[in-house]
Symmetry: D2
Subunit: 469 residues, 4 copies
Amino acid sequence: MQTPFDTVILNADVATASDRYRADIGIRGGCIAAIGAGIGPGRETIDARGRLVTPGGVDAHCHLDQPMGDGSRMADDFITGTRSAACGGTTTVIPFAAQSRGQSLQAAVDDYHRRADGKAAIDYAFHLIVADPTPSVLREELPRLVAEGCSSFKVYMTYDDLKLNDRQVLDLLAVARREGAMVMVHAENADCIAWLTEQMLDAGLTAPRYHAHARPMLVEREATHRAIALAELADVPILIVHVSGREAVEQIRQAQGMGLKVYGETCPQYLFLTAEHLEQEGFEGAKCICSPPPRDRANQEVIWRGLDNGTFQLLSSDHAPFAFAGPHGKQAHGGDASFDRIPNGIPGLETRMPLLMSHGVMDGRIDIHQFVALTATNAARIYGLFPRKGTLAIGSDADLVIWDLGQPRTIRNEQLHHAVDYTPYEGIEVKAWPAVTLSRGVVVWQDGRYLGREGHGQFLRCDRPAPAQ
Amino acid sequence: MQTPFDTVILNADVATASDRYRADIGIRGGCIAAIGAGIGPGRETIDARGRLVTPGGVDAHCHLDQPMGDGSRMADDFITGTRSAACGGTTTVIPFAAQSRGQSLQAAVDDYHRRADGKAAIDYAFHLIVADPTPSVLREELPRLVAEGCSSFKVYMTYDDLKLNDRQVLDLLAVARREGAMVMVHAENADCIAWLTEQMLDAGLTAPRYHAHARPMLVEREATHRAIALAELADVPILIVHVSGREAVEQIRQAQGMGLKVYGETCPQYLFLTAEHLEQEGFEGAKCICSPPPRDRANQEVIWRGLDNGTFQLLSSDHAPFAFAGPHGKQAHGGDASFDRIPNGIPGLETRMPLLMSHGVMDGRIDIHQFVALTATNAARIYGLFPRKGTLAIGSDADLVIWDLGQPRTIRNEQLHHAVDYTPYEGIEVKAWPAVTLSRGVVVWQDGRYLGREGHGQFLRCDRPAPAQ
Amino acid sequence: MQTPFDTVILNADVATASDRYRADIGIRGGCIAAIGAGIGPGRETIDARGRLVTPGGVDAHCHLDQPMGDGSRMADDFITGTRSAACGGTTTVIPFAAQSRGQSLQAAVDDYHRRADGKAAIDYAFHLIVADPTPSVLREELPRLVAEGCSSFKVYMTYDDLKLNDRQVLDLLAVARREGAMVMVHAENADCIAWLTEQMLDAGLTAPRYHAHARPMLVEREATHRAIALAELADVPILIVHVSGREAVEQIRQAQGMGLKVYGETCPQYLFLTAEHLEQEGFEGAKCICSPPPRDRANQEVIWRGLDNGTFQLLSSDHAPFAFAGPHGKQAHGGDASFDRIPNGIPGLETRMPLLMSHGVMDGRIDIHQFVALTATNAARIYGLFPRKGTLAIGSDADLVIWDLGQPRTIRNEQLHHAVDYTPYEGIEVKAWPAVTLSRGVVVWQDGRYLGREGHGQFLRCDRPAPAQ
Amino acid sequence: MQTPFDTVILNADVATASDRYRADIGIRGGCIAAIGAGIGPGRETIDARGRLVTPGGVDAHCHLDQPMGDGSRMADDFITGTRSAACGGTTTVIPFAAQSRGQSLQAAVDDYHRRADGKAAIDYAFHLIVADPTPSVLREELPRLVAEGCSSFKVYMTYDDLKLNDRQVLDLLAVARREGAMVMVHAENADCIAWLTEQMLDAGLTAPRYHAHARPMLVEREATHRAIALAELADVPILIVHVSGREAVEQIRQAQGMGLKVYGETCPQYLFLTAEHLEQEGFEGAKCICSPPPRDRANQEVIWRGLDNGTFQLLSSDHAPFAFAGPHGKQAHGGDASFDRIPNGIPGLETRMPLLMSHGVMDGRIDIHQFVALTATNAARIYGLFPRKGTLAIGSDADLVIWDLGQPRTIRNEQLHHAVDYTPYEGIEVKAWPAVTLSRGVVVWQDGRYLGREGHGQFLRCDRPAPAQ
Ligand SMILES: [Zn+2]
Ligand SMILES: [Zn+2]
Ligand SMILES: [Zn+2]
Ligand SMILES: [Zn+2]
Ligand SMILES: [Zn+2]
Ligand SMILES: [Zn+2]
Ligand SMILES: [Zn+2]
Ligand SMILES: [Zn+2]
């Protein structure tokens, strides 16, 4: 007979990506040690009272304290970002260590470790952003960093300071193939956007709404097709991030149908926002500027469908936190900046899981197993954190959420825990919210109170992702 | 502290549709009561020695002791059929209670219960085959039978004694919608087959190989498109059974892409056989006559791809056991019967899981989680047996397989446990075979010995399937 | 030097399916004998004054004096029908000799000749409708009739008194293949329509508008897919008539892309009407009841696009003339008949060419060569009347239209020449109308006056169509 | 009565893109003045003896005396090139005035006029190649050149000295839209080719065959998708030149189905050659190096199908004449140059029409009207030369071919009239060859003798193409 558990969660209605059952959960050393009926005593006990318990979320796409090149500054660092995540049921985040041109990748990673060290309330890993794939990056830094636990990198096909040309993307894909890493692609055609932007600015069309006009669906479709073709050529899996609508979905499904390992991620903004949100009075529309931009209701339906039929593996937040007020956020270039000079991105770490639980599961669009897969399990698997993260199973970290499904509430920014002064989801009703969040067996959120501790969160070395082997 | 477990499986390398972990498994009352490290003593202990443990298979499409109208007789009844299943790692079978025209559906079910009672070594449920959808069948029998646990019915678009016209299919789909049942469709165009068959017989082309010529891919594609259209019209899910190749796959994927609830099943014969197997000398080809017929290697690849990319939810055997020799099987109409007078079907209950584990998982075409989903979890879910069957989770039946992955072997019919005198997979190498199979906690197969008992298997009442609600 | 021409058309702006040029046209013996600049004198001269001259229309799908089985009677016979056609620029019609069940096909043709003899003002050929494909029809009558000039037959997949099952369609396709005939298919799934109709009538939904609800797009898509599959199996061209919208267009384009000889026809009702036309007050909607029903604006756009991109070869009227008032037409079963008891069909012979010239060519959706191909040349070619009909070339019949493109007018039924008491296009503006129509060199319509003569029109024996050889 | 014709062609079996008839053709002033039966005397008479007469070919894609940047030199100038064209039935060529970087476009055109002046035996127009779209090119030169008769420009997505990036392509498309010009696109992804080439050279794979490996189908598919997307964005027609296989065809058909004005051209090399032709012994494979490379038989079938079903509008030669022997052609960089240093292109001006007549029309893959459209009419129309060129109609130039369809022959380079020392079609049988070719009424080829005259051919100012208005 073993010693008692550190903590036992009693009477949980457990849901994983494949299972649903009633049980007690025994936690020891921050991990799940036993699951069953009456498994024995714990030093601490949390009575789940029959409530739904799911794996803690893995938000595989978010930006925290990422250095900006344009004078703007992100509102959330690792303290406020992970706090907000925990309060929304997310127990792992994977933000980006972003190389700037001329910088070594290792330097970017070192810098990013310094930004994270001792601050995070939940565990975190790093994706790499490769903006300058020099020979030494390709031949030395990437292999070493992959081996050391940064096994995924994001490639940009747009943004002047980040974009790579096709040749550079191919070089990175070749490294990914050799090293067994996963490549994420931001798929928008830079030249098309520049051409459209110039036309609009020439015509005096500078309001926030024109951001959406400068990045129409075909700009994303084209880049998606191209990214898939490059990956097919390099014979390596890729993941298309933040897919916004039908035309890109069709490209991805077509590739999946041909047997290519093409993964898809979408985000709440493509389910809950439309381009009309950019058309608000004055500068208000800037709050919803992100890339790709939200589309329309018909495209929202296609995205929902893609969550249900397996086109998408991930629902991430793409949390990119810029304050609306003040000199560092959306108005970094003034309160009447033209749309192309407004920092891109919206916050969403805390609202991601409640929105999907409420409007996805409880409204009958997806089932609870899909919810778990989309918010946790698949991300862990695709980025080499499985089975440590992303599920509730013996030996996994005791990262979990006990849900309160009974109390409808309205999303209000004042009740969120990020450092951003707005949420684009203000006013949306949800019927679900985490009652309790545990990170490695420790309660970080309970009954509306944040109980997390700076430094509790640890850096996670990612294995080489299974799909990339 | 509870009483000891009935059985504890030590040191299992557990794989489910979503998880993979090392643990002991505690079984009590035929169910899984606890999973964890060192969970406590059991009255009996099975040391898995770190071997892979998966949920026992659910073979959701097999034919056992089904009355035939043409003078043929199935070689396997519930005794030999479930024995064979158990030895191959399958712990649940769902054969068909088949109505004949003029017969009440209840009578068919009653008759089928008599055939099963006291004979099965593993648990079983019934699908219904509706060949005569009279008003009383539609309005009284089906609703009652669904309520009583027969919540799925198969519809035939071909075979003279079973086929329904589009109107009858719609009527059944409407019942399925109202009652929350699942409709399975055998999709081949009867008129096309009859027209081609007549042309071949007229031309003196009677050998077994012409079976495949009389049922080309387009005959299946057309019926698949039509079945999907009927289901779309009736606004109800359907499942296309035994899909054989690309053109049908494309129809299904297209429908899934449009958001329709169209499920797909395929079978080992479409992965391991081709039409060339029907071209063997003399009457040998009859051994591989089944409908739809096996296609070619390019179509096999498409089927493998469909298992991997989520087009298919199920891999079933479509076990339809006819002896090659003797007066009741393939030669029921003589040893030189024309292809249209040879009983359709091939055996496959016992080989299904080893073939997929070996050539799917171990050869790297699918992962272990897909294996579990395709052979067990999805079937349980789609047919209303989840979570009792199809997974390893607290409260589920202790149906499981401990795998021997170390000893390559060659499939030989003499080593199988069905009552059929051949296997179409004779000579194929496999690298995996069940070492131990448990049915509700009871060992039914161990180290090459069948330990099952007639009557251990129980009839399972199926719930209304979740996807049909 | 030859004798003078019978007639010379001076100064024509000639447009054919491929050419556009200024010339005089010399007519001799009812045929075009010479085209050129200053080709010499004619006994009669028509000065085209530089106006557009096109081949006379070939309306390859219209119903005239066709015996009905339900007590209704067509308003137009060969006198009024061909009169109306001539006034709208059509110089050849191909109505249907329709077999009724139990009748020999020859008897149907004989009867139809009696109905046409001595009445037509323009030339005509016959399609056959085969409603009862008995062995003698298949083996004797069809081969003989094809040889004698009835080389196309229409097959119905719906309508209780006409519909054939798949096997019968295959038998007819096989005859078509052997004899080199063209098969036209009315593609709607009869069982689906019957099932929906019953549901609507059961629910008391009997108004004309429910006609459209009982025949949704998928009913047409399914039958289109099936018809194409049958033709693919029989290895023979087919033509899908009266295509109404996107889903059917996609099936046809897909087949064309695969290299199948699948032709498509559409009609003005799918360009100018929508299902809303069936929703008019009271029984008015009955005026627009035809099958398939008009769809919506998005589908209209798809149909326009299909005219432009080559998906469709034909624009026909599907003129099916039933009076709105009186006991023989739309109200044959009463002024409040349920939608399923209202004769199907709308008039359109006279308006077909002006509508397409005006809204197609002059509005820039198609060019003048496409207009000629769609209204004349392709029909002649597909039905074995080329090069006698359908073009302006040496040796062709002098069937032509001199257009008045200068005077906008509003379509009013009172100005049309059919015997129907309404037109569904009432009130639509057109910018084009025939100024002069010639049939075999004889003026039949000029400056608003009908100059045709009963009996001038001759029966045309159709050759075996080139695409079917 | 007019004066006699200059020439009368008696008893012609005339075929145009839409018509087929027997007639005499009267020519006056180099143009067709009359067509008819017994139209009157001519000063000269050519008895066609009932032989097939078609419009002379318009080869809309060929390279003659085009300055090369790599030390190679084209074997054909305007003398030998137009001679060869005439002998093969082509009466109009449209080669390319190619700008080099740093050069003004006007200078390129001026230079090209000097190369053509007084040399051509048949008429010619110029496409522009824009390799350096400077502001003055975009704003001044192109508008002026379009107005002066160079209304089409080719854009390269590959080749280091010619390729434009997406932004530059968009700028050119915008000019095309404003000026009503047609843009032709060479669609291959330069970065992919460079990446693959480097890999092959690194691996020592330098033989001619690796040219095909460095330019796989997906490289063309990707660029085709991208080009279409750019044209869709700029809202302007484009024409994809030299399409080689299925994946590109699918992109084009998809776009056409969506209603985009996307035109397609293919070439004989994609019908008659495969990648195996590059695998010949030693350096022989260099003879068939062109871009995109020939594919395989399955792709050939798709190309044939695309000619038949309307996907392609043009069959051009892409004649790019490099001698195999000598220091200026294929061996400009040595007889063992690596594949990336071998001049790209193959000759084909003279064989284009006989190959298509023989293997297309006479073998039943396309009909004679499609032949005329593909080889003459469509090119004239798409590039603003219609109706002067591309058809046989009143007022058109008397450019025509009288065919000899009776004498099979084998293509031998020694019998061709270009200045290249090989033909890739050596040894292919053809059943058709021009008996007589007329250019503006003047015989330039008759009974195996070249009768053309340097300087007879005139520069043609192209109108703004109708499809681009
Ligand atoms: Zn991004
Ligand atoms: Zn992002
Ligand atoms: Zn079946
Ligand atoms: Zn079966
Ligand atoms: Zn019809
Ligand atoms: Zn009709
Ligand atoms: Zn090119
Ligand atoms: Zn070229």
